[in-house]
């Protein structure tokens, strides 16, 4: 066993020395890489298309980012949602507007003039909305009288709000010219939630469905346009054969 590992080690050593030797034959040259800085504005197609196959949903989201440095982008979303949830025991409609702001960090090392993004980011989201309880049923474990317990309500709860943090992971790829197609997944953690009395914020625009805990998930599919503002030149050290 010891003998074999020694043998492998020596092979690796030989290969490494060969590699080092090969590199000696190269000299460095520099090429200039231009990076474009600007604003990217887009729309969420996922929210728009949902209205076609989900009759109880209407939503729109505008996304945008601004490149700050090589890797960091200032990013945000603004949107509006109108959703009716029909559960076994509740039927309610939530309407409202939300705004999210934060940053994205590009993990993707672009080669030459490529401008793609594989990013992780963080957002702080704020939403103001209203809810209307359409109907509900009374939970009665001992329904001796066999009563129909669905009650039509129509009660409106307005002036509600919520704030949350969002962890974002996504991809944005340049398809043609300045057009980008991308998608992102979001994991949300509720920070504050102004609930109505005798009801709950079971759906928060921008945050999505709330569970017993304070967590929510999100997804968007975007098409966006990049508006270049200025260019920055960076020199790259590239090794070339003689």
């Amino acid at each position: 066993m010891k003998h074999t590992s020694k043998y492998i080690f020596s092979i690796v050593l030989v290969l490494v020395s060969l590699l080092l030797h090969a590199q000696d034959k190269k000299t460095d040259t520099t090429i200039i890489k231009t990076s474009r800085y600007g604003v990217r504005v887009g729309i969420d197609l996922f929210k728009l298309s949902r209205a076609f196959y989900e009759k109880d949903y209407k939503g729109i989201e505008i996304v945008g980012d601004y490149r700050l440095t090589k890797k960091y982008f200032l990013a945000g979303e603004i949107g509006n949602e109108d959703k009716t949830v029909n559960d076994d025991r509740l039927n309610f409609t939530t309407k409202g507007t939300y705004f999210k702001a934060g940053f994205d960090y590009n993990l993707y090392e672009n080669w030459l003039d490529m401008e793609n993004l594989v990013y992780v980011g963080l957002r702080y989201g704020v939403s103001t909305f209203s809810q209307r309880l359409n109907s509900y049923s009374i939970y009665n474990r001992n329904d001796y009288f066999n009563e129909s317990n669905t009650i039509v309500s129509g009660e409106k709860y307005s002036g509600l709000s919520a704030q949350w943090f969002e962890v974002v992971a996504g991809v944005n790829a340049k398809v043609i010219d300045n057009f980008y197609v991308g998608f992102s997944f979001r994991f949300n953690k509720l920070m504050s939630n102004k609930k109505p009395s005798n009801f709950d914020n079971l759906y928060i625009p921008g945050f999505n469905r709330t569970y017993d805990g304070d967590f929510g998930v999100g997804f968007n599919y975007t098409v966006s346009y990049f508006l270049p503002i200025y260019k920055k030149k960076t020199t790259l050290q590239v090794r070339k054969k003689k």
Binding site: R89, L90, L107, Y136, Y139, N140, N149, I151, F187, N198
Partner: protein, 168 residues
């Protein structure tokens, strides 16, 4: 890239494990029933067990049967502010002389409270302060077996406390 992958897995996992509020937990306090304790009329501090007590709601054929216990829970109607019951003691006994039926009706106000997404709402009942209950003899008079009733707690919010005491 590795970081991104870990994050995506974490998101997928967390979203799949959040479905816990889809089923109404049986431990959740929902619409309460009225709790009635039975006491001995000759010794009012002593709990007394009922024998084959069947209570039948107005307009219903089948009743709720209680035997050998001194504490019962009876449901109230959640669609009207009044619930009428026939309280039949020694139901089905071969000695028909000990079978005794009394009518007891409850008057109350209802409010509905939100519990959760899975459970919906629950009703709670506040017994009428002027006229919480009416005790009458059966349609075919057979003397009353219920000697006295005292109201302990007019607010029926949970099943954990006694609302009414019946002496017989």
């Amino acid at each position: 890239m590795k970081k991104l992958l870990i994050l995506l897995v974490a998101v997928a996992w967390s979203s799949s494990s959040c479905e816990k509020d889809d089923i109404c937990d049986s431990a959740t306090s929902t619409t309460p029933r009225m709790a009635i304790d039975f006491y001995d009329i000759t010794n009012p501090s002593l709990a007394k067990n009922v024998t084959n007590l069947v209570i039948v709601g107005e307009g219903l054929e089948t009743g709720l049967r209680f035997n050998g216990i001194s504490k019962i829970l009876i449901p109230l109607k959640t669609t009207t502010d009044i619930t009428k019951y026939r309280f039949i003691l020694n139901y089905g006994s071969t000695d028909t002389s000990i079978i005794n039926e009394d009518n007891l009706e409850f008057h109350y106000a209802r409010s509905n409270f939100f519990i959760s997404r899975a459970c919906g709402f629950k009703s709670i009942f506040i017994l009428d302060s002027e006229n919480p209950y009416t005790l009458t003899d059966a349609a075919e008079p057979d003397q009353m077996w219920i000697q006295n009733i005292t109201l302990v707690q007019p607010n029926i919010l949970t099943e954990d406390e006694t609302h009414l005491k019946i002496y017989f």
